[in-house]
């Protein structure tokens, strides 16, 4: 493994070991294969799957893989700005792209009836209701980040490999739950109103922005000032950019849902509607 950690003289722990990278990458590789297999089985049942969704899934997986393993993950272990780039990819962009790929819809199509029913029962279960509630998902997501960057946890993450794995898994899972709690691409049995989701989204976006500026002014332990400044700004504007897409889709769904009946526009909007399960 190439050792560049001591050039900057600011590293707070050991190198990022290979097994940590592999452990974090495996679930994503598995998810890629699973999705591909589901597309295959769905086609076999004469139910083709849109190509652009496959592209979205592949791009999402690629973002996550880049963030958890390889050169960016190595750099992120030593440089806070790179860490933040990885965080944006793993916690925001990958979840968004993967949610837009509608995996649950695909699995429900591809699975045999019994198993599809089991999956649908799982989606309807109360734990899934709790975890996909906008407020709970926002707290898991943004609250987790507050704990990571305002306590010694960030520094400890560099010294403890188990902590590293746990935090990175959490960042992705919380990001995914957050995304699917705000925009309904897949069948969502536990639905919440637009106002509730909008208000929560604004609060979460604010929590993210406030934390970015807080990091700018108060670098986490072990992070040099210049890196905290550029990392904080990257978090602020990068978060804005990705949340813009979520806000846009949420508003678009509202726009379609309130289309006046018997209007030409109403019929025009239909081709864009999300696929029914």
């Amino acid at each position: 493994m190439i050792s560049t950690s001591h050039i900057h003289g600011q590293t707070t722990g050991a190198e990022l070991s290979e097994w940590v990278q592999i452990l974090l990458a495996l679930p994503f590789i598995f998810a890629l294969i699973l999705y591909g297999a589901a597309v295959f089985f769905s086609r076999q049942r004469q139910r083709p799957w849109p190509f652009y969704r496959i592209v979205l899934w592949v791009l999402g997986i690629a973002c996550a893989l880049v963030a958890v393993g390889g050169p960016l993950a190595q750099l992120a272990h030593m440089d806070f700005t790179m860490h933040m780039l990885g965080h944006l990819l793993l916690g925001m962009l990958a979840p968004l792209l993967m949610a837009l790929a509608a995996p649950m819809t695909l699995f429900l199509r591809a699975l045999p009836q019994g198993q599809a029913k089991r999956l649908s029962r799982f989606l309807k279960s109360w734990p899934s209701r709790v975890l996909t509630d906008p407020v709970a998902a926002s707290l898991l997501n943004v609250g987790g980040l507050w704990i990571l960057y305002t306590t010694p946890l960030y520094q400890e993450m560099h010294e403890n490999s188990y902590l590293h794995v746990f935090i990175h898994a959490h960042v992705f899972i919380a990001g995914y739950l957050f995304t699917v709690s705000m925009i309904y691409i897949d069948p969502t049995p536990h639905r919440n109103g637009y106002v509730y989701r909008a208000v929560t989204l604004i609060a979460a976006l604010a929590g993210h922005g406030i934390l970015s500026k807080y990091i700018y002014g108060n670098p986490p332990a072990g992070v040099p000032v210049d890196q905290a400044e550029s990392g904080g700004m990257l978090m602020y504007y990068g978060g804005d950019g990705i949340d813009l897409v979520i806000v846009f889709i949420l508003c678009l769904h509202w726009y379609r849902s309130t289309a006046p009946e018997n209007s030409k526009v109403n019929n025009m909007a239909k081709p864009f509607e999300t696929d029914p399960a």
């Binding site: 909008a198 989204l201 604004i202 609060a203 976006l205 604010a206 929590g207 993210h208 922005g209 406030i210 500026k213 807080y214 700018y216 002014g217 904080g232 700004m233 602020y236 804005d240 949340d243 813009l244 806000v247 846009f248 508003c251 678009l252 509202w254 726009y255 309130t258 289309a259 006046p260 209007s263 526009v265």
Partner: protein
């Protein structure tokens, strides 16, 4: 449908969606003011600073909430605008009254509470800051007054129309 009845159906649409016209305008105004603040003063002129050491905690929270809200408002208001258009209910005078009110109110809040009380950052880091503050806040007040004038004007128009229908 004759031209006349078509016209009157648009007017009745505008009146029944008068609140949505106003809110679409207000949200767009807030979003526009925040957007100009960000692009013009932060990014292009570099007058505003991303973070000022003298920012209070309340300032940080207020700035974050307003930033998030205005971000959402910009997009949401445009969808409301599109919704009004497809319903043939867009009333531009009413909409503009909202834009001026929203942009003015946001700018006044930014220029007084956020810049001065919470000290998130100053308009420009120069000696004669007072001139910048005055121009900033007077512009805000002028926008609010213009918006209020249009708002009253549209209200009067609705009242007059109701009176005519009763006669």
């Amino acid at each position: 449908m004759t031209a006349n009845t078509y016209q009157s159906s648009i007017i009745s649409n505008q009146f029944s969606y008068s609140t949505r016209n106003l809110w679409s305008g207000i949200l767009f105004g807030v979003g526009l003011a925040a957007f100009l603040d960000e692009t013009l003063f932060h990014q292009l002129l570099h007058w505003h600073h991303f973070y000022d050491k003298s920012t209070t905690d309340a300032g940080l929270v207020s700035d974050g909430l307003f930033h998030a809200f205005s971000w959402f408002a910009t997009i949401g208001s445009l969808f409301l605008f599109a919704d009004l258009r497809r319903r043939n209910a867009l009333w531009l005078t009413r909409w503009w009254s909202g834009v001026l009110l929203g942009a003015g109110a946001f700018q006044l809040y930014d220029g007084t509470i956020q810049h001065k009380v919470m000290r998130i950052h100053q308009i420009r880091y120069v000696d004669n800051l007072i001139i910048y503050d005055l121009v900033w806040n007077i512009t805000a007040v002028v926008m609010i007054l213009a918006g209020a004038f249009l708002l009253v004007w549209t209200k009067k128009k609705m009242k007059k129309h109701k009176g005519e229908q009763r006669d």
